[in-house]
Structures are given as C-alpha cells and as structure tokens.
C-alpha cells in the first residue's frame, strides 16, 4: 500500500516562496501527474518528494510513515530524470545495476534483476552497450530500468519525455502507461505538457504559482475546471474566454449579455454573482458549431483533415478559436456564424473562480 501524502508542504528559496501549503493525498497504485507552466513549482515539489530538496515546512508521508527527513533511498522512491542522467562510462547493464551495486547485492541477484528489468523494457540485447550508442528512446528506457530494479514503492518522473521527438513521445506515453499497469506501482509524473497529463494520469494536479489550482481526474478537470487557469491550461486548442455582463442571476441559471448584444442563458450555479457583475464565458473550441450566434472573423484557418481549426476574432476584437468539421465550408477572411451549446459553456467570475456547472455531458455510449 504505497500511499503518498503531502501535508502542508511549503518551500522557500531565500525570500522567494515557491510552494505554498501543498496538501495532496495520492492513493496506492495511482498515476498522478503534476502539470503547470514553467516556474510553477512542479519540479521543486517532485524533488522535495524525492528528498533532493528539503521542505521549509510540512511533512511527506509514504505508507503512513513520515519520511520528511530521510534520505531518498530510505523513502522507497526512485526517480527518472529529464536528462536521463545515465552514467556515460558504464554499460547499460551497469547503469541499470547501479542501485543494486550500491546495496552490495550478490552478482547472481544483480544479474537476475537486471535481466528482468531489461526484459520488461526490451533492452536485453542492448545490455553490453554504452549509453552513447543508444537512441533517445532507448536511453529513456535505460533510465526507467535503473528506477525499477530497486522495486521502490513510489516512482517519480521529472519531465522524462521532453527530450524526445514528437513521434517517439507518443510511443513512450503508451509504454509508460503499460509499465504503470505492469508494475502496479504508485507513480508521480511531472510535465508541462497537458496532453501527457490528460492521456496518462489517473488524477492530475494543476499547479500555478506554487499553489494547487485543482486536483482531479482528467475528465473532471476538463468538464469542471475550478478556475480560469485550469480551464485555459487543460484542453487543446485552449479554451476561449469571452467577456460578458450578468443580466439576470435569479433563475435556474445565469443570463449573460455578451458580444453583439447576444444573451446566453447558462445552466450554472448562481451563488456569488449578481446582476451587473463582469464575468467571462469559457467556451471550448470544440463546443461550437456553425450556426447563428457569435460572428467569427476567420484570420487563419488550419485544416488538419479531421478537423479545421479557425483562429480569428469576434466582432468586439476578442480572440476566438473554433474547432469545426474537417470539411466545413469556411474560408479565411469570410465571417461565419457560430452557435454555442449553453450546456457546454463555463462561467468565470472576475477573480478567476468558476460558477459550478449544473450538468456535465454524460459519457456517450
């Protein structure tokens, strides 16, 4: 039962506070991804869990045991670094065996464990080579191999795929997900790439400015972002934000006057807003279709085949992006009308927090 609890973790470098009271409970065998823009503190948080940085305040609890002051190896964690951190002068075998050599394990045991790890990672024929003779993806697998031989309770990954090219990254994502299932271990994964977060995570922690913006499953974050930041970070292309004014908050939803004098009635909680408040309507590019409503002046049209991404501006100048049918009859420079499904829209107050949606789309059968 490798649970990982972070209790009120704070971290300061001199006068600069980079982490503010981080409180997270990670379940056994869970794959949790820390995601956020650069400088949000996600790597620092991972290094704190690893024991490479000390906390300024707070506790790290693994399997119910406070490990805050313990060395990494005693915590039962292992870590895969962004640069792989392979030892260039050692063979792949010795690289993977390094943690076992440190423990002074017998040669038999070492060979056995390295062979098993190499088999899982399809590295068996690469064992006598040096890291310099391997491709990027193979080096990455060696780094993972080194982290699994010790059989730790918690695996930590620090942006492990960011040095790989796009195609390889896609393959490695799938491999890592399979590895997670095969090892049945708790994994914490740091990335700035929301696609990696969405595809691999059981739950995602969105960090911003050293604070947890939201902690939840990928689809929860997608459908119920707690803040404007999360809404803008999760989803590709990014969510559009259209300014509006609350016209009526007394009914079952909020009526908002927006661009072109359009009035949208959105089924969200009305608590905390009153008539006249400035709000922003969050509309995902994929939640609009051709029709009447907002007028979009298309400046750039990206036809990807399956979908067409139209970048442009609304009549008041607000930037807007729409993801439309691949064969949609639209052109650059020609305005089109867009219809927004009110059930799919989000409403954010001026402070960036969301008005909870009353209904989210159910999974389609």
């Amino acid at each position: 039962m490798a649970t990982l609890d972070l209790e009120n973790i704070s971290k300061s470098f001199g006068p600069a506070k980079v982490l503010h009271d981080i409180d997270l409970a990670i379940r056994d065998k869970e794959f949790v991804v820390f995601v956020g823009p650069s400088g949000c503190g996600k790597s620092t948080l991972l290094r704190i869990i690893a024991g490479l940085e000390e906390t300024s305040a707070g506790r790290i609890v693994i399997e119910g045991r406070d490990v805050s002051r313990e060395d990494p190896v005693d915590r039962g964690i292992s870590m895969v670094f962004q640069s792989y951190a392979l030892y260039p002068h050692l063979t792949v075998f010795e690289n993977i065996a390094f943690p076992l050599r440190v423990q002074k394990m017998t040669q038999d045991e070492v060979s056995q464990r390295v062979a098993r790890a190499a088999e899982i990672l399809q590295l068996t024929d690469k064992l006598p080579l040096k890291p310099g003779q391997l491709s990027g993806g193979q080096r990455q697998r060696v780094a993972i191999g080194r982290s699994i031989v010790r059989e730790p309770k918690v695996f930590l990954f620090d942006e492990p795929l960011s040095n790989l090219d796009a195609a390889l990254r896609g393959d490695m994502r799938v491999e890592l997900s399979q590895l997670h299932r095969a090892l049945n271990a708790t994994m914490v994964y740091v990335t700035h790439d929301q696609v990696e977060a969405m595809t691999m995570a059981d739950r995602i922690v969105v960090l911003n400015g050293g604070r947890v913006e939201q902690f939840g499953s990928p689809m929860e974050l997608y459908h119920h972002p707690a803040t404007k930041f999360v809404a803008g970070f999760i989803g590709q292309p990014n969510m559009n934000f259209v300014p509006g004014t609350v016209a009526d908050a007394s009914g079952g939803g909020v009526a908002i006057d927006t661009v072109d004098g359009a009035r949208l009635v959105l089924p969200v909680d009305t608590a905390g807003v009153s008539t006249g408040d400035a709000v922003e309507i969050g509309i995902r590019p994929e939640d609009v279709r051709l029709g009447d409503g907002l007028d979009l002046n298309i400046r750039v049209l990206e036809r990807l085949g399956g979908v067409s991404i139209a970048h442009g501006a609304l009549s008041d100048g607000t930037r807007f992006c729409a993801s439309l049918d691949g064969n949609a009859r639209i052109e650059e420079g020609v305005p089109v009308g867009l219809t927004v499904d009110p059930a799919c829209a989000h409403v954010f107050k001026a402070d960036g927090t969301v008005l909870r949606r009353q209904a989210a789309p159910a999974l389609v059968a």
């Binding site: 690893a50 490479l52 990494p72 670094f81 640069s83 390094f98 943690p99 440190v102 080194r146």
Partner: protein
C-alpha cells in the same frame, strides 16, 4: 568544415606561428648544437654553425664529469612524481567540494587560494626555511616536496574545479537517489568521468613541480645525493672551466622525460583545456 581563411591569411598565420615557435624552440636548438660541439669550439670566433668534429661525445662524458648525474635525474622525476601524487590527493577532494558543496566562505577561500598563487616561492623562502627547520625537514626529499605541494595546490584546485563543474549535477543526484554516498559517487561516477580533467591537472602539476624544484633544492637542501637535476647541473661549473657542452647535454636529457609525457598526453591536454568551450 568550411575553409574560413583565404590563402594570404593562411600564409600570415603560418608566418606568425613560425616566428613564435622560433622564439620558443631556438634555445632548445642552440642547446642541442652546443651539446654537440667540442668545448674549444664554444670559445672560437667567428661562430661556426657546423664543423667536422661535432659529435655526441658530451653525452657520454657528462656521466663521468658528474658521476651523480643519473641520481639527479632520478631525483628530479622522483620529487616531481611525489609532488604530483600528494598534490592530487589534496586537490581532488578539495576541488570536488568547491565544485559541488556549499559552505561558508567558499568564494573567499577560493580567492585566497588565487592570491597565494600570486606570491612566488622566492618571497616566502625565508619563512619557509624556518618552518622546514622547525619541522626538521631540511636536507631531506620532503624539503623539496612539501613546499612544492603547497604552491601547486591552488592551481590544481582552480583547474579541476572548473572541470568538475561541467559534469552534470543530475548524475550525482541520480546516484544519491539510488542510495550512493558522496564518496561512492565520487569514486564510481565523478572521477571516472573526470579522467581527462585529472590528466590535465596531473600533467600541469607535474610540469610545475619539475620547474619549481630548483629554487627549493638550492635553498632547503645541502645533501648532494638528494639534489634534483637543475641543482645538479651546477656541478658542471668547475673551478677551472665550465663544460658547457656537457651541461647542455645533461639538461636536454633531463627535460626528455617531461617532453615524452607531453607527447603522449598532448591529446588530453588540448581536450581538457578547451573542455566545455564548444557545445558537444
């Protein structure tokens, strides 16, 4: 790679290199020529570049003129090797600490090391003499080894520190996460990767030790059997005459070991001194 120089530029470059090398190598050449001349040639006018009676005679006579010559050459190499070994033993952990650890007064200490380097040994000879006398080290090998080590440690630390800093920190962090101690990491990860740097520093220290031993030898040591070659060369200066040709021959034979080392390690030296200059 593209040829970046035009023909006239290349010619200019080669001329510049030739002038430079002439200045550096001419003394060696003249030493060699002098060693071949019979002694009476040296005082003859006009200067004769070549004559029939040039020979390698001096190279065999020198061993008889100065019977301890072999011993002096051995002493030179022995002292320089000991200085190098002891210096490296101090420099490696110190440079690692300066490269990786944080401690109070770190940059101040580094600055002091640099400042110490600016004193030549000559300024400190008298205090050093007193120290060595108090320690009872005068007239032993240690009289030449200990000051040698002391004066070479700062350079060694500065050279090796910058090399060690270029080894990615993540490698050590990875080892630390896997449970390796600092010393284990130093031994298994850092030092193997620092071998080119260690060779550079080792050679620099050896050459430094070879060059500086003269001063310490003539000041701190009166025992003939312990003198290194530069001090031993004095014995070619007799009461009646100076056998210049044999002295030159002995000097050339004496620098031979250093030259051989240079030839073999030149590749590492160039690589080490320019390490990190180019993104690999």
């Amino acid at each position: 790679m593209m040829d970046r120089y035009t023909i006239p530029q290349k010619i200019g470059l080669y001329i510049a290199v030739a002038i430079f090398l002439t200045f550096i190598l001419l003394p060696f050449f003249e030493m060699f020529m002098a060693s071949l001349r019979p002694l009476e040639h040296l005082f003859r006018s006009p200067y004769q570049f070549w004559s029939e009676d040039f020979s390698f005679q001096a190279y065999s006579d020198m061993w008889e003129t100065v019977p301890l010559l072999g011993r002096y050459i051995f002493n030179s190499i022995y002292i320089a090797s000991m200085v190098t070994a002891i210096t490296m033993a101090f420099v490696v952990p110190a440079a690692y600490a300066f490269a990786r650890m944080d401690f109070p007064m770190k940059s101040a200490t580094l600055g002091i090391f640099l400042a110490v380097n600016m004193f030549t040994g000559a300024v400190l000879l008298i205090p050093l003499y007193r120290v060595l006398r108090t320690l009872g080290l005068l007239n032993t090998y240690w009289a030449m080894i200990v000051p040698g080590v002391a004066f070479l440690i700062p350079t060694g630390i500065w050279l090796l520190r910058s090399y060690l800093e270029k080894i990615p920190r993540e490698l050590e962090e990875a080892a630390y996460v896997d449970g390796a101690s600092r010393l284990y990491t130093l031994r298994r990860v850092v030092l193997p990767l620092a071998v080119p740097g260690l060779i550079v520093v080792g050679v620099a220290v050896f050459i430094g030790a070879y060059a500086q031993q003269f001063l310490f030898a003539i000041t701190f040591n009166q025992t003939r059997e312990l003198q290194p070659l530069p001090a031993g060369l004095y014995e070619f200066i007799g009461y009646q005459s100076v056998t210049w040709n044999e002295m030159m021959a002995a000097a050339l034979v004496g620098v031979l070991p250093v030259m051989v080392i240079f030839l073999f390690l030149q590749k590492y030296l160039v690589a080490g001194l320019t390490a990190g200059a180019v993104k690999e």
